[in-house]
Symmetry: D2
Subunit: 291 residues, 4 copies
């Protein structure tokens, strides 16, 4: 069992993550939040002391940005100095996008660096936050209600599944496109219409279109079949699944919504990081030692 | 049957309302939208000509503001001049909050003035828009997801019913308070917990609280039992159901959300006006004449 | 406060009702259940002693049948003898369809006889049981799944509302008919289609039709427009809302489902009786006396 | 393109399957339904002629039983005679559990025998029918309503997923057990509680327990922690996931529900067979020839 934890860098998500560890009884030290006043709950400290005095270390997602620890709430940049690295090298480090850390600090032992952002449950729980965030965007941007609006969800992966569920729950008139017969079968068990992704051009008009597929699905040809007053929300990570230039030429409103979890629900996003780390700690017997 | 319709004043809702009448085959004349360029669909005209050349007249909600026809999209104020009134006096007038019109222009015949804002189906459909708008606010302001958040809906009238439904659909952990046993019975058939409104002080903490009751439910005493980090959204019309001053003193975040339909979903709000007027036209045999 | 309660007559519902009172700490005496072996929880007794030794008396729904207390689980008929009536006359009596009791025993004081079956929350909660029971019948009789089946619910009263909700939840393709504009408005906020009851003849075919309206909606003319392979489930109490003779002649499968709560879910039906009586006891200050 | 199809053997599912092919414009010949009178739609014929005169052949699930074609609606047993086999050997054969056919008739060419029962979309769609069938059983056997009943679904595979969804939709209080973190993550995005399968003994009591796991989850130890009045419905195929003997000794009500699709909804089950075959025909280019 570990008793103390240092969180270095990150944004609101890390603060909520820290709160959750605190609620679990950990001694929590924060570093890289000097824009924050201590509220008596957390210990605030410099990175080296934070690491030194803690059993485990948590870094944000992404853990590293432009050669420094990603710490948007810190006035000073946090450098991976020799001193800090030597303190870190003893500890278990939990971070997001660990490859960035390991390439910047190759002296860290790979077996001591754990990447929560690669875990499947992390991706699933974040898909829920993304799905809700997408609904929020649609509610804000679309001038009608979601109820009975004609929505297309393109793709039935983690985000597509949960987004489809939310839209159906809000009584939208939902169509979901997928390529695999088994996905089409699952879709047809829901309160929505299943169509093949390669038949998008033949569909009747939609009010709101959500893309979740990380490939150029909405190319010029498909876009030319979309109603002019449709709202197209692309949830696929850069470069996205929409030919934005053609969309603009065709006067189709588009929104490329990126990194929704941290923006739409930092509290939940922080809890997800915490829960994933807890799962990893439980699973990894080697991580366990008597308190 | 009527063939032509004039819409005088109003905001985006009236534009969407106009579009719906157009889709139904009416000749539609708009007035009070000089900030708007004609898009070839509507005839744009001065108020007098608009009324003169139309079978029926539609005014916005509220129809009158500060002594003029409520026309926020017009550069000039639209006065109820003698000329305009004489044109109006021949026509059936559909408006919201008709008493304001009738007190400003007592010479209009009461039996020719129809108030869509008093219709029950109008109130119900707008409650849907308000409920979705409230969810949108909660999504925007609350730092977690709605899913599994602890929500209290105070009141089980039109808005409370639909809001409860939306929150349950989004997998929130919903408690609804009401006073009447029959409301509590209905609530208990849903996926939520029913409590008596007078027991609010005894409840466990909530993340988001929605008030729909137009009475001071959230007085100092009740507020003192609310978690400090709760978000309190008041949907009751002015003065609302919250002692905002005490809430502020207790550092409870509050939002007084007013007139959501027009803000959150003007398209739907406009369609509702149109549908209500259509119902009134159908019902009122006296309104019918051969085309 | 009352401490002891006698339940005379009734079926499984009364047994479950008795169990709930027991769980609340009451001393419970059962009578009219001689087909039942005592399981040590309840006191079993003759009607006179049961009443004599209890603070309040609960009779079933209906309380009286063919001149006796309605006691289908009793070998002997329970007569309202002078002795029993004199014991009863002192007590508060809670029963269903009290008019039957009062006309059989006019000497009972009307102000001491409380009818739970007239309470609105009783009707609402039983509507839920009826709605689930109707779904169960549909699942059993219809040879397809409810999911994506085409269902018509005729009427939007207590049962119609809840049945519509259940069918939508199971992803049926639901149409609801009603007469009032306000009901049609509420229906249109759900995931279903709203139609006017007088337009039933013009609708496209349904797999399953549920009638909840206690009037002859499905007369010969309407029946002649129904698909031959449709299943028609009438939930309206006798005589129902279907011309069964014409339906038979037209080879339409019909089921007249009556008294579903006691049949489909006696446990819940018993809990509803108990909860309603508890509400009545709480409300009626005159009922309260120190324990 | 194929124009004609022979369905040999099977039960009601095959009849509904045949109807669907008919609706798609196929010439359909039925064999093995001599308990049935022709209704003018299907050609009824002996197996040999049926095969001879058709482009493709459909056999039931399972296709073979006790050495004969599985034909419960036929008076006579249908033998795989040399004559019939030689007719079959030319045709594409679609069947369920093809291994049984191929071991009985090894002379059939494996590449001409297509097994729809091995297809993923077939399994998914049948899981929906099974889930609804399980709900029907629960509604019939449980003496309360599903709404607010405490349900446990053990396993989050195809059936567990859809059953969980149905129960949540009916407002049950649902707990789902799974072993994998990613399944637990998905479960936690629904309106239910996620628990680890190995913690079943520690859970609070349930009204209805559904097992979907094909392994002995409900052994004596787990059973001893289950409430005596719980209903335990085992959906796992033989031998199931319940120690039925121990359950009986512990007086726990159990139901081993097998082959639900054909029993609960033969119409849907038949449509699923048809849709799966259609998918296979579409996918298999080699199957296609000009009409």
């Amino acid at each position: 069992m570990y008793n103390s934890i240092a969180l270095i860098g990150g944004d609101k998500r890390q603060l909520y993550c820290a709160k959750e560890f605190l609620n679990d009884g950990y001694k929590v030290t924060l570093s890289g939040f000097d824009k924050l006043k201590s509220d008596g709950e957390f210990v605030l400290s410099d990175p080296f002391s934070a690491v030194k005095n803690s059993d485990i270390v948590v870094l944000p997602l992404p853990c590293v940005k432009n050669g420094y620890i990603n710490a948007p709430f810190s006035h000073e940049k946090i450098k991976l100095s020799d001193e800090l690295l030597s303190a870190l090298s003893d500890k278990k480090i939990f971070c997001g996008q660990s490859e960035k850390l390991l390439s910047l600090a190759p002296q860290l032992k790979r077996e001591k660096v754990f990447d929560y952002s690669l875990r499947e449950e992390f991706a699933i729980m974040n898909a829920l936050v993304t799905a809700e965030g997408a609904v929020e965007i649609a509610m804000r941007e679309f001038e009608g209600v979601i109820s009975h609006s004609r929505c297309l969800v393109c793709g039935y992966g983690r985000i597509g599944k949960l987004l489809c569920e939310k839209l159906c729950a809000l009584n939208a008139d939902v169509t979901v496109s997928a390529r695999k017969q088994e996905d089409l079968a699952y879709i047809s068990t829901k309160n929505c219409k299943a169509v093949k992704t390669d038949s998008l051009c033949e569909l009747s008009p939609f009010d709101i279109i959500f893309n979740t597929v990380p490939a150029l699905v909405f190319d010029q040809k498909v876009l030319s079949h979309i109603a002019k007053d449709a709202l197209l929300i692309d949830l696929a990570s850069i470069p996205g699944g929409v030919d934005f230039e053609s969309a603009s030429r065709l006067s189709i409103s588009t929104i490329h919504a990126l990194s929704l979890p941290g923006k739409a629900a930092p509290k939940t996003a922080g809890q997800i990081i915490k829960n994933t780390i807890t799962n990893m700690l439980e699973e990894d017997d080697r991580c366990q030692k008597p308190a």
